[in-house]
Symmetry: C2
Subunit: 352 residues, 2 copies
């Protein structure tokens, strides 16, 4: 083929060898059409005659052709992927958000590339940098607190960016979240209504977990409103592992520091559940001796005995709404509102 570039009669030799896998050209040859037609059958089947479509599909099956997406991305300048940045992948709490995203995006042909930061803004930055290398068509991130470099890279990327799970006045692009702060203000109001005297806020902060920080602020605000004059009680440790057993530790420390507290408000259901189980093991009665409130409404929370009072957040809807926004913009529609507040719901159960 390229033999015209071969000056003399010496036979043309390929300079390089590819995958020697089946390519679109092979399929085209077998189907008796051009490569372009194969490409079109794959991308917009309606725009081709049913007969050619059939022949192409038959050839694809016969050759077991699998399209090379790297080549497709390069040529079309669209990767058909959405980058998803999570603090941790394993946490079932984000799993529903991802499912919400995925259920809406996969049918449209988009794939998710998921990465995790371990709540570390510096790791987030390098994660975003490496994700950018794949030229995703959109970004979805949990959290609104990023390094300046991260913000700038995302802004420069010229693709829709949806932040989530928090609230901020200056999103990079768009925001689908709720106010962790307001949730804790309401939690404290609930505590007051139920007659608790001395609530403590108990948390382990990961350096990059702005949601936990917002919750603390909400607690502080709630306390000054509902318990004026009382000095605010908090027990904050840092960078402990995000596990049930950390809940036990946190409770122990908190009781040591505030032996007369009657309500322990945890920054997460995971810690609250760990504390609850620890109480059970040591024979402490919940909620009569000591009450517990969590955050997040994990699956386990309603099964525990006593069932955990907590704040339910619209995990799945965050993913769904984000996907809707992303799809709309990718289809060229207008962006819709810059910020969407999905709210939360205090779920009063048995533990407080």
């Amino acid at each position: 083929m390229t033999s015209q570039s071969n000056p003399a009669q010496e036979p043309y030799v390929r300079k390089r060898f590819g995958t020697n896998a089946v390519t679109m050209a092979d399929v085209a040859k077998m189907a008796g059409v051009s490569a372009q037609t194969v490409s079109r059958v794959l991308r917009e089947p309606e725009g081709c005659m049913p007969s050619t479509r059939e022949r192409v599909h038959a050839a694809i099956r016969a050759t077991k052709y699998v399209q090379n997406l790297a080549a497709s991305n390069l040529a079309s300048n669209r990767s058909m992927t959405v980058a998803v940045v999570l603090p941790v992948i394993a946490a079932s709490i984000f799993a529903e958000t991802v499912q919400g995203l995925s259920e809406a995006l996969l049918p449209e042909g988009y794939q998710l590339i998921i990465g995790h930061t371990d709540y570390d803004p510096v790791r987030e930055e390098s994660l975003v940098r490496s994700l950018l290398g794949r030229r995703p068509d959109a970004f979805f991130l949990v959290g609104t607190k990023h390094t300046e470099a991260t913000r700038e890279m995302l802004a420069r990327a010229q693709v829709p960016v949806v932040e989530s799970w928090s609230w901020t006045n200056r999103p990079i692009d768009q925001l689908v979240g709720f106010s962790n702060r307001a949730a804790l203000v309401e939690t404290v109001a609930y505590a007051r209504r139920r007659g608790y005297k001395r609530p403590v806020f108990v948390a382990s902060f990961q350096s990059g977990d702005d949601r936990a920080q917002e919750r603390l602020e909400g607690f502080l605000e709630g306390m000054t409103r509902q318990y004026p004059g009382q000095s605010v009680r908090t027990l904050i440790l840092h960078d402990l592992p995000y596990r049930l057993s950390t809940g036990r530790l946190l409770l122990a420390k908190a009781r040591e520091q505030y032996p007369d507290s009657d309500l322990f408000v945890f920054s997460s259901d995971l810690f609250a559940a760990g504390a609850l189980l620890a109480c059970q093991r040591s024979g402490i009665k919940v909620p009569s001796e000591l009450a517990i409130i969590g955050f997040g409404d994990y699956e386990m929370s309603e099964e525990l005995v006593p069932a955990l009072t907590t704040v339910a957040v619209p995990t799945k809807r965050i993913g769904q709404d984000a996907a809707k926004i992303i799809l709309q913009r990718l289809k060229g529609g207008n962006a819709g509102p810059r910020k969407v507040d999905l709210g939360f719901e205090l779920v009063a159960r048995e533990s407080a």
Copy 2:
């Protein structure tokens, strides 16, 4: 540049426009070197003079260049990605496997592309097909039961394929696992030693979960060995959601069918934990009235009251060892053993 293909004096116009993002050529121009050198600095920094290396890096920072991996993949025929196929992403049980993989693979420059099948072999097939489109350099799969088409695609892909979490005599390529069957044989032996009279195996099968099926077989084998003459008791439901509350349901059904059973062996810690919590709620004493054994040693299991007796499996090591195998083969080393048995450990706690 391509002006030589332009026959007349009319000015050359680009027919297409790329990302108009920064490319390697832009960096090269700024650094005063060729694009090749930039590429080399990125891939093998040792092979370049420190001074040019410095200039290139400065140019990269100045232009905020991010390499286009699609182009890189296409040209090099290596994607620097490893495809990971899981039943479900959220399950913390697989999370450690992924972490084991990721801790070994990321430092070597490989990225993971993770997909999930919801325990459905047909979804697995289409997932594998779409993952193949990205031309991963290796595959890691949980499970050994796949459709024939899946097996064939993976075999044709000409890259290392590691199956895991199960045991089989005919892996597609390589296997890092343990015997779910042997684990249940041992569990039944433990039941016998502890004097339980009438064990039941309780499970919800997802259609594609061969591990649960293997566990059932192990239970059957164990029962014929340890309780000869006793008719084997099982309660198997199908395709129930993989949640704590399903454990409650399973326990209720099992007690209905076998009211005099003294030991309930669950196919998963999640169900066992759900059953345990249900007992707690309804005032059934564990293990005195009814004993429970789980499978998997989830994080929650040792925190529960009573703590759950279960089978611990080498979740993280599976990932680590698989990564080691993959790296070795990708570096051109020999494959090592075709099958690796990592074993398991029965963890006797309080619930049985």
